[in-house]
């Protein structure tokens, strides 16, 4: 019966019109934890200004891949480059811990689902943002304060609470602090790991709206991981669908949602409310 399913969709060609190279380029990423293959020959390319969505269920490898983009983990094999001045052809997995830390602090921002991972809960919100600037060598108190205020404002965080501790804030506000921290140094790449999962639906919409605004105003390149198709659909230009550590389908967001090619993606899309 399934032999009767006709022609597959046309194989897509390599990019011809894009005049820019991908900002992020990952090739043949594989990783096993013991007997579990977390990632298998994953390729990813994200172009400047793009929002790449990664969907998949728990254990699909999407968060592992994001952690590798943030250089928190190293694959068993594979290559990772970011087109940063002077680093174009460098496999970032070869960097030392110190180089990774400096590169991440200056060029990559991340927002975690769990704010405890990204924030010092008992320091002030502005201080959490200022820490990034301190790592980058800023030593003027007034400049730290101004830049923290600016980043919090861009994340639509209420400035009268800028010195409140994250532990005193709501989940949505905590995500805004994480976001402000992530964008404070105007990173080339912003990674979002389930940034709105666990928030109330109304709060979720507001946070997504903030992300949209930032994306539009600052043209930040984003990689967004979520199991929530609605979030991906709202945000992403292109989508990668992951399952069991592999990319099963990749395409323009509207195409993946309207004309999914892989049986798993079809199941995923049809299961959505």
């Amino acid at each position: 019966m399934s032999l009767d399913l006709g022609l597959p969709a046309l194989e897509r060609a390599a990019p011809r019109l894009m005049r820019t190279e991908p900002l992020l380029n990952m090739r043949d990423i594989s990783k096993s934890y013991g007997n579990v293959r977390a990632l298998r020959d994953v390729d990813a390319a994200v172009y400047p200004g793009e929002v790449m969505g990664i969907v998949g269920e728990s254990g699909s490898g999407k968060s592992t891949l994001l952690r590798m983009m943030n250089l928190e983990d190293t694959p068993d094999s594979g290559n990772y480059t970011l087109r940063l001045p002077g680093r174009e052809n460098e496999n970032l997995f070869d960097l030392t811990r110190y180089e990774r830390r400096m590169l991440c602090a200056r060029n990559i921002g991340i927002v975690y689902q769990n704010p405890h991972l990204g924030l010092l809960m008992k320091h002030s919100s502005s201080g959490n943002v200022a820490e990034r600037l301190l790592i980058a060598g800023e030593r003027s108190f007034e400049v730290l304060r101004d830049k923290a205020r600016e980043a919090l404002d861009a994340s639509e965080f209420p400035l009268d609470r800028m010195d409140a501790r994250p532990i005193e804030l709501s989940g949505g506000m905590q995500q805004r602090v994480q976001l402000a921290k992530a964008i404070a140094l105007e990173p080339a790449l912003l990674l979002l790991d389930e940034p709105t999962t666990g928030l109330d639906v109304s709060v979720q919409a507001l946070v997504l709206d903030t992300l949209k605004r930032l994306q539009r105003d600052r043209k930040i390149t984003m990689v967004l991981v979520s199991h929530d198709l609605g979030v991906i659909r709202t945000m992403a230009d292109r989508v990668m669908v992951m399952r069991h550590g592999e990319v099963v389908e990749q395409g323009l967001a509207d195409q993946v949602f309207q004309d999914p090619q892989h049986p798993y993606t079809q199941q995923l899309v049809h299961a959505k409310l």
């Binding site: 811990r97 320091h123 002030s124 200022a130 820490e131 003027s140 108190f141």
Partner: protein, 304 residues
């Protein structure tokens, strides 16, 4: 040749109390500490006849340095006559034959808890500071393994953040003692609980300083002529305690670090913390031929 001629006679204790291998280990760690200024070196920290936390770290360094020609001064919060200071000084003298002194100028080794003398120390002197907690990152990173990585990476953002938080919460930097300082532009150290008043004395000092923590089993050093820069924001200058205008009620000296003595019914009187400086000032006023050395602070201003 007999076995007896190759070995020393039995003795109840080794010279300077610590056995030769303990001293050899300490010497190695002290040399390493000098080689990498401000970097903490772990050491075994032997038992000495004193409870941990009462200066055993400083004592072990002093016992390693001391010889029969040494002149030892020991102070506790600036005073030579405290029970602890007197006991340590007498112990060192008994096990090494070193001379004791209260005078900073005549000492070759100054072991101290929480103060640096006000008279400028020379190249031929060594300052040994007793340190309760040698890890400046402890307050921000409880995991010691990660703290060591942070030192390796010169990752001191969280320390700056602590200062940022103090200004945000209190309007100024509240850190009084143990003010974190960058040594030789590379490692941040905690300079033991000396007051902010004393931290500038370590910067480009002529003398060698060891900072040793017996309970924590780590020591670090500031070699002579090494930069020691307290962490400050460029627009929030480092400030020492506001003691410039205080006068010692007993010696009459003015412009040095003072101990505050609260009085019944409110108000305070002050006594100079470096007690032997006060004594020398009184003796000099009484007509004795006393030499008071150059001081780091003049008229309450740091000027060395």
């Amino acid at each position: 040749m007999s076995l007896a001629s190759l070995t020393k006679d039995w003795a109840a204790t080794s010279y300077g109390f610590l056995d030769a291998s303990a001293k050899r280990e300490l010497r190695r760690k002290m040399l390493k500490a000098i080689a990498v200024p401000g970097c903490q070196m772990p050491y075994a920290s032997r038992e000495v006849p004193m409870a941990r936390g009462w200066g055993t770290g400083g004592l072990q360094v002093t016992l390693t340095l001391v010889n029969s020609a040494s002149v030892v001064k020991v102070i506790d919060q600036g005073a030579d006559d405290g029970v602890n200071a007197a006991s340590i000084r007498r112990f060192i003298s008994r096990v090494s034959g070193a001379a004791e002194t209260w005078d900073t100028l005549s000492a070759t080794i100054v072991q101290s808890r929480h103060r640096i003398p006000e008279e400028i120390m020379r190249e031929d002197q060594v300052l040994v500071l007793q340190v309760p907690n040698p890890e400046p990152l402890r307050g921000v990173e409880p995991n010691i393994s990660i703290a060591r990585q942070m030192h390796a990476d010169a990752d001191y953002g969280k320390l700056w953040l602590t200062l940022y938080e103090q200004i945000v919460r209190k309007g100024r930097i509240m850190q009084g003692a143990s003010y974190p300082a960058m040594v030789n532009g590379r490692h941040v150290m905690t300079p033991s609980p000396i007051p902010r008043w004393d931290v500038p004395k370590l910067n480009m000092a002529r003398h060698l300083t060891f900072l040793s923590a017996g309970r924590e089993k780590r020591l670090h050093a500031v070699p002579p002529y090494t930069r020691v820069e307290p962490l400050v924001f460029s627009d929030r200058p480092y400030q020492v305690e506001d003691h410039a205008d205080l006068t010692c009620r007993r010696s009459g000296v003015r412009g040095f670090f003072m101990n505050e003595l609260p009085q019944d019914g409110g108000g305070s009187v002050f006594e100079v913390s470096d007690s032997n400086l006060g004594i020398k000032a009184i003796d000099k006023a009484d007509g004795s031929a006393i030499e008071i050395g150059e001081t780091w602070y003049r008229n309450g201003e740091y000027s060395a």
